[in-house]
């Protein structure tokens, strides 16, 4: 049994290494995508043009301006005399952020019971930049002012600086810089693993069907279960290697942390790959040609983006979509991936998600394995 499985695996590897297009897709594609995405999201939230209205003009207010300017996120480009000029600059897109330091800032800082208020206006039409600027400004303000309250108003589009000031101090845990890469790269990582797994596994089977070799294998002593195990091995290894490579890029090139255990991360990824393969089996079962398989994978990718919590948190989806999302392994995987990498979650924290993933994987595996017959009908 193991010998025959090994025979098929060796053959699959030979074929895989000779399939230049698939190799490029699996190696170059994800690397390029990840690098570009990382770069783009990093630059989008760096060196944002910032206008300052210093109505205080004290050493404290200047210290705050220096602190803001020293942030990588913000570049102070304009010093304005009055707050009225801000709207104009924001409207024209010359600045993305404006900070108003009111007169009396230093005085209130010096008398503790009072709370100093600094107004930060961001261009809300660029959400990422806005969040990044807010996050960064908070850090700077907090460091200078100690107990400083940030007055966050509606985005500039609403443009009424006098709107009700909110007395709140949002703090982002796990991602103190509110860096978008922290949020985006793990999602991208999970999608890459998903696509690579699906592609290598279903192409591996569908190609054999297309060329008729699957029919040929059916008349050999190779058992059904042997064929499935053998056919699952290559995609699993390829996806795992891809994951490690992409993880290395996110960690070394973009500085994402792995706060939890690497072993746990790998284990969770392996479970995800295996669970995802059952979808690969389903796709192979219904596709007559590789072209059809690739189209289904594309569709699956889009659905997975929707259901993974990549764009919209699952909890915020309509109930029906929440149910549907339960069938997509990536939903559980992405939240675990983020939890382990960014929050340092341990097994105890993710066990619910992990059990759900294992359960889903096992159930769909039973269904798809039973449907994968060593017969043509």
């Amino acid at each position: 049994m193991w010998r025959r499985i090994a025979n098929v695996i060796v053959k699959d590897f030979q074929q895989f290494l000779r399939d230049k297009v698939l190799l490029v897709f699996v190696v170059v594609g994800p690397t390029a995508q990840l690098l570009m995405m990382g770069q783009a999201t990093a630059s989008e939230t760096q060196h944002l043009a910032t206008a300052i209205v210093d109505q205080d003009r004290t050493s404290d207010s200047r210290a705050l301006i220096v602190a803001l300017d020293n942030l990588e996120t913000l570049d102070v480009t304009h010093y304005l005399d009055s707050a009225e000029q801000i709207d104009n600059l924001l409207d024209r897109g010359e600045v993305s952020v404006a900070v108003v330091i009111p007169s009396g800032f230093a005085a209130t800082l010096a008398s503790p019971p009072d709370r100093a208020t600094v107004q930060v206006l961001v261009d809300g039409s660029s959400l990422l930049a806005g969040y990044a600027a807010l996050g960064a400004a908070q850090g700077a303000i907090a460091s200078v002012g100690g107990e400083v309250t940030l007055e966050r108003t509606q985005p500039a589009i609403m443009s009424s600086p006098a709107a009700r000031p909110l007395e709140l101090l949002p703090t982002a845990r796990f991602n103190p810089e509110l860096s978008h890469s922290y949020y985006l790269l793990p999602s991208q990582l999970s999608l890459i693993v998903l696509i690579v797994t699906l592609l290598v596994s279903s192409v591996g089977i569908v190609r054999e069907r297309e060329t008729g070799t699957l029919e040929q294998l059916m008349v050999t002593p190779l058992r059904r279960i042997e064929l499935i195990v053998a056919k699952a091995t290559l995609p699993t290894l390829v996806a795992l290697v891809d994951f490690l490579a992409m993880l290395a890029i996110t960690v070394w090139a973009f500085g994402l942390p792995i706060r939890g255990s690497l072993a746990l991360l790998l284990f969770v990824t392996l479970v995800f790959i295996v669970a995802q393969q059952t979808w690969g089996l389903v796709i192979s079962a219904v596709s007559a040609t590789q072209q059809q398989a690739v189209m289904l994978i594309f569709m699956m990718g889009i659905l997975s983006v929707a259901f993974s919590g990549y764009l919209v948190a699952v909890e915020n989806m309509p109930v029906v979509m929440q149910w549907a999302s339960a069938f997509f392994p990536i939903r559980y995987y992405l939240s675990m991936l983020r939890a382990i990498m960014l929050k340092g979650a341990s097994f105890v924290h993710i066990r619910t998600q992990l059990s759900a993933l294992v359960l889903l994987g096992a159930a769909s595996m039973v269904v798809s394995v039973r449907n994968f017959q060593k017969r043509l009908d």
Binding site: E215, P221, R223, K374, D377
Partner: protein
Amino acid sequence: MSNENDLAIETHSLTRRFKKVVAVDSLDLAIRRGEIFGLVGPDGAGKTTTIRLLCAIMSPSDGSATVAGFDVVKDAEEIKKRIGYMAQRFNLYGDLSVMENLNFFADIFAVGGEVRRDRIAQLLAFARLTEFKDRRAAQLSGGMQKKLALACTLIHEPEILFLDEPTTGVDPVSRREFWDILSDLHLRGVTLFISTPYMDEAERCSRVGLMFEGDMIVCDTPEQVKDLISGELIELRPDDLRRARDMVADLDGVLEIQTYGDLLHVFVDSAERRMSTLEDQLESEGIGVSGLRQTRPRMEEAFISLIRKRIAEGRTNNPVSSESN
């Protein structure tokens, strides 16, 4: 028991239905060990389905079949150890070399050591592929690919070999080579079950079965099949094929007319009596005639005739080739 052992393949009312068609309809077959059995019939007759049923890779809807003494439903895996199957489509790994393909199938069938080395060398020589052994299968010519596919299905020395249109799309020279290999196998006692659209190949079989719309219309030796045709055959080449055909149809003693390219094949009750009148009639209508001769009906004429008869009997709802020419 001894009688049973003589049979390589036996089916009883073997039936396979798909959603809308009955691909194989109550097939009864008995094929002795060592036979070359040819399955002929137009496209869609059910040839491939029959072979798949016998290779135990498709389940019958009804009826039963035993291959090499094993039931196709219960003992599928036992059958697979004893048969070789070459599907109609190219069925090798194009991105693997000739040698790698052979080695892979040897691995799967657990043919190892000395035996494997000898057998692969033998098969390569047999298929005249020795000098191409490191070439990728996809880069072989169509004929060579077929021979390689055959070599791969022979790696475990099967008792029974199923070949589904093995020579379709193969040039005549390779086709002849291929049949030389098959004859060799036949001499070694391998049972061959071949489907083919080529009538000249059907003539080489020890028995042929004509399938049409899932039915076995006739199943006999090529000679017997040809004897089924009524009348004698006159062949001629008229100037105006269409007019000649319409005219000849009304003549006395004409049983059936088939066109064959430029040629007109006329079945008559007696060639001796009708030949001259036929010529006279055509000439009087101003249709020039050349190559007029009596000839032996071939498999092709026999099959067309049999299929037409079947259609005329109205036992079909799908007039595939009633006016095929």
